[in-house]
């Protein structure tokens, strides 16, 4: 079967790739484009380790066919920092020890960023339900939730 030719934008860069019709966006990110920051924990949309945004909408890249990227804009964890300047969420996760093994961290950060773009002042409950699709087995979520709330407060402060 002939491969599909896809033209898309990834982290602001115009990108083209070839893929099989059944390949997921995660397959292509990791195995074709060397963007291995998105992780495969389950392949069934349950763990959130592969979270990316598609036109600013949070999606599990393991549930998206790569061909669906055609003409759309994708952002991954690799596009979150601005050069060598970390995003405030990344910085806060480091300062507040909100990661241990780190395998869920890219997905959690992408999801948390999507939340704060939508809701700059989330309650603890809103953070917890928004991140309910991102499994973490190391932290018990405490420090993750605190880091997101703290970042939101700082970003609101900076915006004023």
């Amino acid at each position: 079967m002939a491969k599909l030719h896809v033209t898309t934008t990834i982290n602001g860069e115009p990108t083209e790739f070839l893929c099989e019709p059944h390949h997921t966006m995660l397959d292509v990110l990791r195995d074709t484009l060397d963007l291995t920051g998105s992780k495969e924990g389950c392949g069934s949309g349950d763990c959130g380790a592969c979270s990316i945004t598609l036109d600013d909408r949070l999606v599990c890249s393991c549930l998206m066919l790569a061909a669906e990227a055609e003409g759309h804009e994708i952002k991954t964890i690799e596009g979150m920092a601005d050069g060598d300047k970390l995003h405030p969420l990344q910085q806060k996760f480091l300062e507040m020890a909100a990661l241990q093994c780190g395998i869920c961290t890219p997905g959690v950060l992408v999801a948390a960023d999507a939340l704060l773009k939508k809701n700059p002042n989330p309650s603890e409950t809103e953070v917890r339900y928004w991140l309910a699709g991102n499994l973490c087995r190391c932290t018990g979520y405490d420090k993750i939730v605190r880091a997101v709330l703290e970042t939101a407060a700082e970003m609101r402060g900076a915006a004023e």
Binding site: E78, L86, L135, G140
Partner: protein
């Protein structure tokens, strides 16, 4: 010993591996590639128990794109009659677990593997392999496996002279329990069962292995021990250890479940036959069907006490599932379950039971949560019958320095009573509760461990520091090692780089597990750094022309002391490093030790729950952990261990279980139906770190990671009793089971 003058030990510095992890650059097992790499896939048994009569791989081998096929014939065979122990594993079972030999012993047991130009082709080729099975009756649960007419998994395993699925027993004995029970005013005896639960690491097992034509082998994989990977792969492939370089990838969670290997020897043989590097990555379904979990168990506990609460006798029997091969953690269940208490008469007995499930692997304090669930639940009922507060009962019977434990040791300085006192004094214990809310407490113990560790501390030419150890970092050990090295050298922690060496670049180091890594690696790093400081002092003495013992080291510089004090300007680490070429050459030191002196760790937890009586959902609404950690070198990551363990315990207590169908297959091999706690399931988790320093360790470290998973199961169960008046002696307390008990209670009331 650490004290208030510490600058870095006891502070929550940014972890050295942190930036790579928040930007997506950290390399885990599945993230590596090699030139010419191809993909491997495993064919797994569709039956829970079957004789493998024959395997025909010819059609698979003929498929275009297939480069090699491996079966048990390609894995070294260890005869079942002679034990070949390696750490906690036995190569007789390992060679049969990585590739089924005579029989397939569980649904998902590997029977063959293929390497091909793409993962798709490899998967297609697996379907073309023809296996002739003779399907046998199977046993999944303990009661089925120990029944008189049970199907026998291994006919060479005998118990009481007959073929049996009981592969072994273990007992601990102290005093005379019968005489003890005669003195008791109150005796409580109860039976319990817990389900097997998976470690639940988010990163599936994966590896990339290259075997060259001369046998030189490179393994890139995520594990809790690159030296374990090297040794087991060598045993199972016949490649000498000196030809294998095992490189530790970042590990995406282990919790004990990566103290064993599954893929590496298979990938090595596929690579050897194909002449190309082979990458293998498990799916989540494969992880759930064929790796881990920890044991399910059946336990009976009997505790006798006098009216004043003094416990006079205690007995426990634990049957633990081992999965398809012997080796359940009965030592943890039997050794830890009464360890928090000073009881004169104790008897514990464990049975290791094989059945047609995947072989169990270590899971955080292996066996101890199972034993603690039974004992700490019985303690709760004993407290009620005696009319004594459950924490006061524990305090009255708390083991202390000098207590003889049933599993062997006479305790040195230890902090169990401190955890109970802190819990009693905490405002959580006095906070009011509402309707359908309840509070429970429980305690727990883990042995902790020392063992082999190696470290190398090198000073760079610009006067900074590179520390290499041999332990994969699963809980933040690199951050703690940076703190310790910076403290000893008197420099900023950011000047210390901490790396994990591969098997060719650092000396032998045992597994990351058993809460041993910071205990052991801090010892070898401390000794290495002290040697470096001696070297630096000697260099300064040489420059100044004074005796080496007339030099001291503080705040990152050598200083003249005694009669010479003030005579010379201090020489900093940078200055000494810059002059090293002229004064003696490279500065560095290594240490290799079999560390001893690990002392046990104790914790007490308080848990509040609220039960939704319409839906049967138990919600944990407040949770506080009290733990003696010896010394918290990096408090934030100590808290992280305590919080993470508590939430794994919440999952074990409330939801996690394997559901086997009538065909002996797991029906819920994924994260949707195997329900681990998600963010919205849990509250913030409070921690009280108690520091009773271990006198046998340079920083006072005991070990942290295991104990947090020990008390939660009973603490939550006791809280549910407090909320509903229903005692759950069987886990998990999932919504259908809670509703069933509530309905039964309603009917009984009508």
């Amino acid at each position: 010993m650490s004290d208030m003058t510490n600058k870095w030990i006891g502070t929550s510095t940014v972890r050295p591996d942190g930036v790579d992890k928040v930007v997506g650059r950290a390399q885990y097992a599945a993230d590596a590639t090699m030139p010419g790499m191809i993909w491997g896939k495993v064919l797994r048994s569709p039956h829970p128990h079957a004789v493998i009569r024959s395997i025909d791989t010819s059609k698979a081998e003929a498929l275009p794109g297939v480069k090699s096929v491996v079966t048990a014939k390609d894995i070294v065979d260890f005869s079942v009659g002679t034990p070949v122990p390696l750490g906690i594993q036995d190569m007789r079972w390992m060679c049969r677990n990585v590739m089924a030999r005579e029989k397939a012993l569980f649904h998902g047991h590997p029977v063959a593997a293929v390497a091909a130009m793409s993962a798709d082709i490899a998967a297609k080729a697996c379907e073309l392999i023809e296996v002739d099975y003779e399907v046998l009756p199977w046993a999944i649960e303990i009661e089925d496996a120990i029944a008189p007419d049970a199907p026998i998994l291994h006919d060479f395993i005998k118990f009481e002279g007959k073929p049996s699925n009981i592969a072994g027993t273990l007992e601990h004995k102290l005093g005379d329990i019968e005489a003890g029970f005669e003195q008791a005013d109150v005796i409580v005896e109860r039976s319990f069962d817990t389900r097997p639960v998976h470690q639940g690491y988010i990163e599936p097992h994966a590896c990339l292995v290259s075997v060259a034509a001369d046998g030189k082998t490179t393994i890139w994989s995520s594990s809790q021990g690159q030296f374990m990977v090297r040794a087991m792969t060598a045993f199972l492939t016949g490649i000498p250890q000196s030809d294998i370089r095992a490189i530790p990838a970042e590990i995406g969670g282990g919790f004990g479940g990566k103290t064993i290997i599954y893929l590496e020897p298979v990938a090595a043989m596929l690579s050897k036959k194909a002449g190309r590097p082979v990458k293998m990555v498990m799916t989540r379904e494969e992880v759930m069907r064929a790796t881990g979990p920890t044991s399910g168990a059946k336990s009976t506990v009997k505790i006798g006490a006098k009216k004043d609460g003094t416990i006079v006798s205690a007995q426990a029997t634990h049957y633990l599932q081992a999965g398809a091969f012997p080796g359940s953690p009965i030592r943890g269940a039997c050794g830890c379950c009464f360890a928090p208490y000073d009881i004169p008469n104790v008897y514990t007995l464990g049975y290791d039971v094989v059945s047609n499930r995947s072989k169990v692997a270590a899971y955080r304090a292996p066996g101890s949560p199972i034993g603690a669930f039974a004992v700490e639940s019985t303690m709760d009922e004993l407290a009620e019958q005696l009319g004594i507060d459950p924490l006061e009962l524990r305090l009255k019977n708390a083991a202390k320095q000098g207590t003889k434990a049933a599993h062997g040791p006479v305790y040195p300085v230890m902090g169990y009573a401190e955890t109970v006192k802190a819990a009693l004094a905490h405002d959580h214990y006095k906070a009011p509760l509402g309707k359908f809310q309840g509070r429970g407490v429980a305690s727990g113990y883990w042995f902790n461990a020392g063992g082999e560790s190696s470290a190398q501390v090198n000073i760079t030419e610009d006067g900074n520091v590179v520390v290499t150890t041999g332990h994969p970092d699963i809980g933040g050990s690199r951050a703690s090692i940076a703190n310790i090295t910076a403290e000893l050298l008197g420099i900023d922690y950011r000047r210390v780089s901490v790396l994990i060496g591969d098997t060719a670049t650092i000396g032998y180091s045992n597994l990351t597990g058993g809460s041993r890594v910071l205990f052991a690696s801090a010892m070898v790093v401390t000794q290495s750094t002290e040697k470096v400081i001696e070297t630096l002092k000697g260099l300064a003495a040489k420059i100044w022309g004074i005796p080496a013992d007339a030099v001291t080291w503080s705040d990152g510089a050598a200083r003249p002391a005694g009669d010479n004090a003030g005579k010379f300007e201090p020489l900093t680490l940078e200055e000494l490093a810059a002059k090293a070429n002229m004064t003696g050459g490279p500065i560095g030191a290594g240490t290799q030790l079999n560390t001893t002196g690990a002392e046990g760790g104790f914790a007490t937890h308080i848990c509040d729950v609220e039960v939704d009586v319409d839906l049967g959902i138990v919600r944990v609404i407040r949770y506080t952990s009290f733990q003696d950690v010896g010394k918290a070198v990096h408090p934030a990551y100590v808290e992280g261990q305590m919080q993470g363990g508590a939430v794994q315990g919440i999952g074990w207590a409330l939801n996690e279980e394997y559901i086997y169908n009538k065909d002996g297959k797991v029906d819920n091999p994924g994260f949707l139906d195997y329900r681990m706690p998600v963010c919205s399931d849990v509250p913030m988790l409070d921690n009280v770190i108690i520091e009773v320093p271990n006198p046998l360790h340079p920083q006072g470290v005991r070990g942290v990671g295991e104990v947090p998973l020990v008390p939660p199961l009973a603490a939550i169960r006791n809280a549910v009793y407090n909320a509903l008046g229903i005692r759950f002696n069987s886990l998990p307390m999932s919504p259908p089971r809670v509703l069933e008990k509530l309905d039964a209670m309603k009917q009984a009331a009508e």
